[in-house]
């Protein structure tokens, strides 16, 4: 009886695998890996692109900017999504491996600092935020809030957002060891929604939509460059473009060498008005003309 069962199971699985052949098309699928900030956006872009080009299947995976860049260096992906610039070390490692990375800006992000909506604090300076995340300021009362310990939420070291925040807000110093390293933007949002004394940093698309509606349960802080400057919200497109909002950043994609074939085609789609429209709809900002010119140069 058991041998018969085994044969049945074997036939079933063979049937499943055989039927898989009719569902899937090609084996050589474009692999896009990396930034969690970008994964949602790129997946939607990919779906739109695949709807028009059914012969170009692509897999969009997350894992963090560091993972994507590592995959590009290791040769296990075609496009790396990353929300921070590649480090010198990484570019060198890539070249050592025979890979020359070409980087393109495909969207702009106003990196948002969020707190629980019950928190009375509404704005902070860059210095204050840096000190909080370095662990130097440990109590909300030091920045105008209640007398309670600060609960920090951040990303993990593979995240481009983690590195970008570290470079631009922490002055390239170490994060507090008490910061909880969450797995992605969404987990930070979830944490801060529940945690009345929590603070975290996420890509703007994760907390607001293109209409400017903020997610329930959290509050987006206004950030000022220093104590004497005005504080701006990341939802303010003009402030993000002009740099008045101090933590705006480009969102990148890198390829191994000059992009060709389907990869080039997909990149062109992302940079087209239709693609940039999707970028806006998903809550990010489209790239400016200066950045577009840079991209054009590299596409040649």
């Amino acid at each position: 009886m058991n041998v018969r069962k085994l044969i049945l199971v074997g036939l079933l699985c063979f049937g499943l695998i055989a039927s898989a052949n009719t569902i899937s098309a090609q084996r050589n699928m474009m692999q896009i890996k990396g930034s969690d900030t970008l994964v949602n956006l790129v997946q939607i872009l990919a779906e739109s692109y695949m709807a028009k080009n059914p012969r170009s299947p692509m897999a969009v995976l997350g894992g963090g900017s560091g993972t994507g860049i590592a995959a590009l260096i290791n040769g296990t992906c075609d496009i790396a999504n990353h929300s921070r610039a590649m480090k010198e070390k990484e570019i060198q490692m890539a070249k050592d491996n025979g890979v020359t990375p070409h980087t393109f800006v495909i969207a702009v992000d106003g990196l948002s600092v969020i707190v629980n909506e019950g928190n009375p604090v509404s704005q902070l300076t860059m210095d204050q935020i840096g000190a909080m995340f370095r662990g130097e300021i440990k109590n909300w009362k030091e920045v105008g809030g209640p007398d309670k310990a600060i609960s920090l939420y951040g990303r993990q070291s593979n995240s481009g957002t983690y590195v970008f925040f570290q470079e631009h807000v922490l002055g390239n110093q170490n994060y507090s060891a008490d910061m909880k390293r969450m797995n992605g933007n969404a987990q930070i949002v979830e944490g801060v929604t529940v945690d009345k004394v929590g603070i975290g940093y996420v890509g703007v698309a994760y907390v607001a939509d293109d209409q400017g509606n903020v997610k329930k349960g959290i509050k987006i802080l206004k950030v000022s460059k220093d104590a004497s400057s005005a504080a701006y919200s990341p939802l303010n497109k003009a402030a993000v473009d002009s740099g008045d909002y101090p933590i705006a950043r480009g969102l990148f994609q890198s390829t191994a060498g000059t992009p060709k074939g389907a990869v080039l085609d997909f990149l062109k789609f992302e940079l087209s008005p239709e693609g940039q429209d999707i970028v806006e709809k998903e809550g990010f900002f489209p790239i400016g003309s200066g950045q577009m010119a840079e991209n054009e140069k590299k596409l040649k």
Binding site: G66, N74, S157, D178, M179, K180, D195
Partner: protein, 300 residues
């Protein structure tokens, strides 16, 4: 006519078959050795750049720091043991209690039903338990302890206790059941109550088996990955108590292995952590096995 002399062909065939089975038997030893050797081989290059003393005594694990790369695993080791001890504090009394119930109080029909039910608990995958830690236990712990969130060592300990319980129950129950009836009957004949018999006679008699059970449960808790990864908050700080967010050795490996470029010091260092983990669980299992062996020897 009875064949009394085996042809040499048959003898060779029998030897070959025996050798075949022997190879399979000894496979386990080779696999164990193989794991150790490969881990060692991949971990050693890490120590070209990392000072061994610093590796074991420094509290700071910060391989991607822009300030100074640090590879200290002390905080992780302490976190692992904190959450394991917490789990044992919960699981050992309850586990021995349930085992005692099954062996001394329950009717054999009830036992036959309860044992498979407890096995179901053992069969729940660690990722599901970790998931429940996030959605079920986290909010509950936050409310009960008055903390702002529930992702901490306490959450991890409770979940690990749940995972270690079936092991502790099952092996303790076997040990209690193996205590000779004569012990029980003698004790009762001397006027002791059933409870006194249990506490003063049976449990001490089964002690080695129970210790072995506890150690196996401990090994399970030390090596658990997904549960702690999801429920303990992942803050690499040196733990300051059960309510602090911590990160264990297993969680560190799981989080960082995906992002690290191959064959860098960071990569090798993660395997070094794996090696340390392997050695710790090896010794825990070895001691448990020796204790159990002594127990079995005594019973014979």
């Amino acid at each position: 006519m009875i064949k009394t002399k085996r042809t040499s062909f048959i003898r060779i065939k029998e030897s070959a078959i025996r050798a075949f089975f022997f190879t399979n038997g000894i496979l386990a030893v080779f696999i164990l050795l193989g794991i150790f050797v490969f881990l060692l081989y991949t971990a050693i290059p890490a120590f070209r750049e990392i000072d061994i003393k610093e590796f074991f005594t420094s509290k700071n694990w910060n391989p991607s720091s822009p300030v100074k790369e640090e590879y200290g695993i002390l905080s992780m080791i302490v976190s692992t043991f904190l959450v394991t001890m917490g789990a044992l504090v919960i699981a050992v009394p309850i586990g021995i209690g349930v085992a005692s119930y099954l062996s001394d109080v329950a009717h054999w029909k009830v036992r036959e039903i309860l044992k498979p039910i407890i096995e179901i608990l053992a069969g729940i995958p660690s990722v599901v338990i970790g998931f429940l830690g996030i959605v079920l236990f986290g909010p509950a712990i936050a409310k009960i302890t008055g903390q702002s969130h529930g992702l901490n060592a306490l959450n991890g300990s409770i979940l690990l206790a749940v995972m270690a319980l079936p092991t502790i129950i099952s092996i303790s129950e076997d040990s209690l059941a193996a205590v000779p009836r004569s012990y029980r009957e003698a004790s009762l004949a001397l006027g002791a109550s059933r409870w006194q018999t249990l506490i003063r006679v049976k449990i001490p008699a089964a002690l080695s088996g129970i210790i072995a059970a506890v150690m196996l449960g401990m090994g399970r808790a030390i090596g658990e990955t997904m549960t702690v990864l999801m429920a303990t908050g992942n803050a690499p700080a040196f733990p300051s108590g059960f309510l602090s967010s911590i990160r264990t050795m297993t969680a560190t490996i799981a989080i960082e292995l995906g992002e690290v470029p191959y064959y860098t010091t960071h990569y090798y260092a993660l395997f070094a952590i794996g090696l340390v983990l392997f050695i710790i669980t090896f010794f825990v299992n070895l001691i448990s096995d020796l204790v159990l062996h002594k127990f079995q020897e005594r019973e014979l």
